[in-house]
Symmetry: C2
Subunit: 310 residues, 2 copies
């Protein structure tokens, strides 16, 4: 999957990922109305609305992007119907040839991490048969429990040729509370980054590992350090756009080969029609606004990379 991700990035020329994190408030009135007419103001109605919203955005952007990152919390909040919409979204993105990064931030001990890995990346055994559960290509993992919590994921990734992005330095304002604490004069996130690089050696692709890292766009200086510390690690970079990151901040997340990072934008793409810059599209044409926002983001990052000589 890391090879497919790299191929898709080269094909589209855009190291970007669209975060399919649909809040119901992002879904235009007319889409909500149609779903509620069919299913009522129910969890099923909400799930239908976000699924139709996702489908329209994927249809409008799939040829421009290598990957999507559905945030499972936004579906899980609608209970089982919401998770059905998550699964439909994963499957539909696969039909379109997109790499699917399940933003699930799971992590537990031994057999429990294995159950998550099996459910999201691998196959679960039932009697003599085996079934894929959610079947994403990558998932995000929380490292707080240490190797015990991560290695069961790596085991399943090896079986399935799939991958992980492990939280190293997250994009939120309070991420430093624990992650920046100094341990022998080095911040915790560097220690975690080193571990990610070590774990990554267990499951290498050609030039990059299947085991990646999450480092927020909002911390470009730390990204620069982590890039050097984890040279073969692909970095998933959230926090572009709505959270404040800009293309020029991001060049040091990339290696000299112009690869090694993939930048996520969620709200900035999927709710583009609500921004002044794209208001000309109108709510009716929300997906066209998303397409334009993808183009603008790709140009911003491409320009920044070219300026930096990458």
């Amino acid at each position: 999957m890391i090879q497919k991700l790299i191929e898709n990035i080269k094909k589209t020329g855009a190291p970007i990922v669209v975060g399919l994190d649909p809040m119901l408030s992002y879904v235009p009135e007319h889409v909500q109305k149609k779903a509620f007419e069919e299913y009522g103001e129910t969890l099923e109605g909400a799930a239908e609305a976000i699924w139709q919203f996702n489908k329209a955005i994927v249809d409008a952007t799939w040829d421009l992007i290598p990957a999507v990152k559905p945030q499972i919390a936004m579906y899980e909040q609608f209970g089982l119907p919401g998770l059905m919409a998550f699964k439909k979204t994963v499957d539909y993105c696969h039909e379109k040839g997109l790499v699917v990064i399940g933003d699930i931030k799971r992590g537990d001990i031994g057999s429990t991490s294995e159950a998550y890995a099996v459910g999201h990346l691998g196959k679960v055994q039932v009697g003599n048969k085996a079934f894929y559960g959610f079947d994403e290509d990558f998932v995000t993992v929380n490292p707080y429990l240490g190797s015990d919590g991560v290695k069961p994921f790596i085991k399943v990734c090896k079986e399935e040729k799939k991958g992980l992005f492990i939280l190293v330095k997250t994009s939120n304002p309070s991420s430093g509370e624990f992650q920046d604490q100094l341990i022998e004069n080095r911040p915790l996130y560097e220690l975690v980054g080193e571990k990610v690089a070590q774990w990554g050696e267990e499951h290498m692709g050609e030039n990059y590992s299947y085991i990646g890292a999450v480092v927020g766009a909002t911390y470009p200086e730390m990204g620069k350090v982590l890039r050097k510390l984890m040279p073969k690690t692909f970095i998933l970079v959230p926090g572009y756009g709505a959270q404040g990151g800009k293309g020029a901040d991001l060049v040091h997340f990339f290696n000299e080969d112009g690869l090694g990072a993939i930048v996520n934008s969620s709200r900035g793409i999927i709710a583009a029609y609500r921004q002044e810059a794209y208001s000309r599209f109108g709510a009716e044409n929300f997906a066209d606004a998303s397409r334009q926002a993808v183009k603008d983001m790709a140009d911003d990052i491409d320009g920044a990379l070219k300026n930096s000589g990458r």
Copy 2:
């Protein structure tokens, strides 16, 4: 909910929680067979088997215990049918008057944590209506993202009078890799414990906070320190039994009032019939074996607490 948890503990005299973490391999042959006859060797068949297994164990133990802790990973691995079995288990335990601790170990940034909180503890808004998703009473939360990741959960807990158990020191062998790292001569888990105590002040019950902590039974000395550091924090203690913790190790997780901790056992209770000590029950009577294992665990902890004068 913290009051209800304390009432239930006083009523049963047993500060224990049964971990409903059903691996399919724990489910006796005859239960699996019946489920597969009805649903085939499918995800639905597996979900039915674990649901029937859970139901029998709850029916055999509910009057002896204050709470259960279903581990969502064990259900999530069977995809949507598995999560339906999770929801049925939560609802059934509520019917029996049990406090339900959803072991979900979620945690993300801002609006995403809020979506998890809404989905698991609160109500989600759909048009003019609001719906409970999974509706647990407490959930476990991962602190790696700092206050941004935790406060949205606390907000929903306050609205719903529900609670959290935040990971501080986990029971697994490699938990020290990051959690024990020294920051100005104090381990990270103490820093996290202090934060949990602070967060807890925002949502207090009578003597204990709605915001609890997870500290593994496998680290009794650390439990002793953390108990003092977080005097008003209820501690959820995993790792008893199968993971190696014993009653005598656990007394220092409790306060002098005999409260302040609740000890989880999963495999040791739900798969008791597979242990030599309970093999006399046979697989047919697996739920009776679980009942006996609950009694033995309650006696072990009660004896240890009495010995210590608590």
